[in-house]
């Protein structure tokens, strides 16, 4: 089996460099046959793409989608400086 460390590095690079994702802020953890993806994304479509790209970069491993959607709320309280 490939060293998890290198799998994680490859998945992370794929997520950053693949045109479908270009996500730099996704945390990738590999434990045995399991790949965990954590971070924030702006829409469901982008979340799916991240999972797809990760699956391609880590064939045979199980990819867990733990990504959260950033909900852009109406502006809140202002800060006085």
């Amino acid at each position: 089996m490939e060293t998890p460390h290198y799998v994680a590095a490859r998945v992370q690079r794929a997520l950053a460099e693949d045109e479908r994702t270009t996500e730099l802020g996704i945390r990738v953890d590999v434990r045995g046959e399991e790949v965990y993806l954590r971070g924030q994304v702006s829409c469901d479509e982008r979340r799916h793409q991240i999972v797809n790209v990760a699956r391609e970069a880590a064939p045979g491993l199980r990819v867990h989608n733990e990504l959260t959607l950033v909900e852009v709320r109406e502006p809140g309280e202002e800060e006085h400086l």
Partner: protein, 241 residues
């Protein structure tokens, strides 16, 4: 002097898939703020079609919009065209320069640009060794020098630095420390501290935190969308020179 209400956001990373979404959230912004500052990473891949979405979402607002580009906006090597496209849409884009926005007789000075990395005092890269390393550090150094000049030349009542990269570590908290050198540089803070400013706005660190301060005491705010989780945050400036 009148209080200024500064709306700020960064890392909106727009693309065709998000068309219309951000615009909806900023409708009515003129009731809450006098100006909107956008701290880079406007697009995902830095393509022209994405930049058109940005122009459509941010143009035609009743308040002035001032923006800088981020690293994502450079990805397709179309950065110069993106700047032209946004300027044609009425958005002021700062590329290592300053501008004065008049707001009801108050002059708001904004200076900045994309910025760059290198790390923070004590744990930073230096202009030594391989040409690649030297080029990396020199890029930040030259940017900081241009910002310093731009800040000095600003004739304004309030001054704000608008950047994509961070000037301090404070607002990177939550990011892995190993990547700090790619998230900002102390040289950006040094430039602001040398000339003085009322606020330093940046983005880029999606997992960072909102609030920090430069060694010289300038308030720093990381307004990356995943950090502030609102369409924008409003900062009110009351002091002035």
């Amino acid at each position: 002097m009148r209080e200024l209400r500064i709306a700020a956001v960064a890392d909106i990373h727009l693309g065709e898939d998000l068309r219309g979404h951000y615009r909806k959230k900023i409708e009515g912004i003129e009731r809450r703020a006098d100006v909107l500052l956008v701290g880079g990473d406007l697009t995902r891949h830095g393509t022209i079609p994405e930049a058109r979405v940005v122009a459509d979402e941010l143009s035609g607002l009743p308040i002035p919009v001032v923006a800088v580009l981020g690293n994502h906006d450079y990805h397709s090597d179309r950065n110069a065209e993106i700047i032209d496209l946004l300027r044609d849409a009425g958005i002021t884009v700062l590329d290592d320069e300053g501008t004065v926005v008049p707001i009801d007789g108050v002059r708001l000075g904004v200076a900045g640009g994309k910025g760059f990395g290198g790390g923070f005092a004590g744990k930073c890269a230096s202009e030594f060794g391989e040409p690649e390393t030297k080029a990396f550090v020199r890029h930040t150094k030259e940017i900081a020098e241009r910002w310093r000049r731009a800040l000095k030349e600003l004739d304004a009542d309030y001054k704000i630095v608008l950047s994509h990269y961070s000037p301090v570590k404070d607002t990177l908290m939550g990011e892995p420390p190993e990547i700090y050198p790619f998230l900002g540089s102390y040289m950006l803070a040094e430039a602001a501290d040398a000339e003085g400013a009322d606020l330093f706005i940046h983005g880029h660190a999606h997992a960072g935190t909102e609030k920090g301060v430069t060694p010289g005491g300038i308030r720093v705010r990381n307004v990356a969308l995943p950090v502030i989780k609102h369409a924008y945050t409003v900062y009110c400036l009351n002091g002035g020179y």
